[in-house]
Symmetry: C2
Subunit: 146 residues, 2 copies
DNA sequence: TTGCTTGCAAATGATTTGCACTGCT
DNA sequence: AGCAGTGCAAATCATTTGCAAGCAA
């Protein structure tokens, strides 16, 4: 506790903008999300940092989401998954193992990402849809399950 | 009812492979999914074709999913959304309106899709992840909400 | 008949919420 | 003191499931 990282500073700022305090419980959540190598479920979060009450964890994740610190994902499993917002991390996508259910982050080649962005921008004239952000989920088999 | 389309024939086949009958309730579900221009929620499905019992609709969607006829999506809204499997439709992605919550299908430029596939295939050597299919969700504003 | 299907009602389980208490500020 | 934050327990609500009745092969 105490060592204020770059991430902590950014989160403190975003929370302050929403009149929220950066309490120890919220720090534990942010730390738990940061340490994982992919989006995590609530049980995983509780296990990683014990001393978190389930209801408070849910409530704080919800508040952190509104504050733009956290992003909530619904990949269809039993539990929702949470990760730090892309405002606080690098733009990335997800590798979802269809065997064990694990979810890992990946960063794609910038060239691919660029051609994708271009295609999405074109949707505005073809479909009248103004694209904001996007998510790409890749389903398959992770290294452990091959 | 009775006009057997190409789609119906394919579904009948897939169901038969799983020892399932293509009953009228299941036909109504497939028709409801086919008629929509994007993935639909269960309430929407029930509204479109009344005379469907909620529990049977859920049960049949689940069975149809196992049989590879239907795909279930969890975009995070209150209800899950369902669509016909890509074995029965064209490969496509989703335009999700952040204002009204509607979800529409889009087919991307084949060139973009190809470069994407290539990038995903490369994940096998870089990450040890064997990619199967993928989903791309684009968030933004639909034509009606601009 | 045999067994897949259906619909109702009850059960499940992740997430949310009411409320009294704790602890910053 | 005043109010945001916490934790417990109870409430929600989409989805699932048990069971008795319906229907096709």
């Amino acid at each position: 506790m105490g060592s204020t990282t770059e991430l902590d500073r950014a989160v403190t700022q975003q929370l302050a903008d929403h009149d929220l305090r950066y309490t120890s419980g919220r720090r534990a959540i942010v730390a738990g999300l940061h340490d994982a190598d992919g989006p995590v479920t609530l049980p995983e979060l509780l296990e990683a940092s014990s001393d978190l009450a389930q209801s408070s964890a849910y409530r704080n994740l919800s508040l952190l989401e509104e504050a733009g610190v956290v992003r909530r994902l619904a990949h269809g499993g039993e539990y929702a998954r949470y990760e730090l917002s892309e405002a606080l991390t690098e733009h990335h996508h997800h590798l979802i193992c269809e065997n064990c259910g694990s979810v890992a982050d990946v960063v794609l080649d910038p060239a691919v990402e660029r051609s994708l962005d271009e295609a999405l921008r074109a949707l505005e004239s073809s479909e009248g849809f103004v694209a904001g952000h996007h998510t790409l989920d890749v389903y398959g088999r992770c290294a452990n399950c091959t």
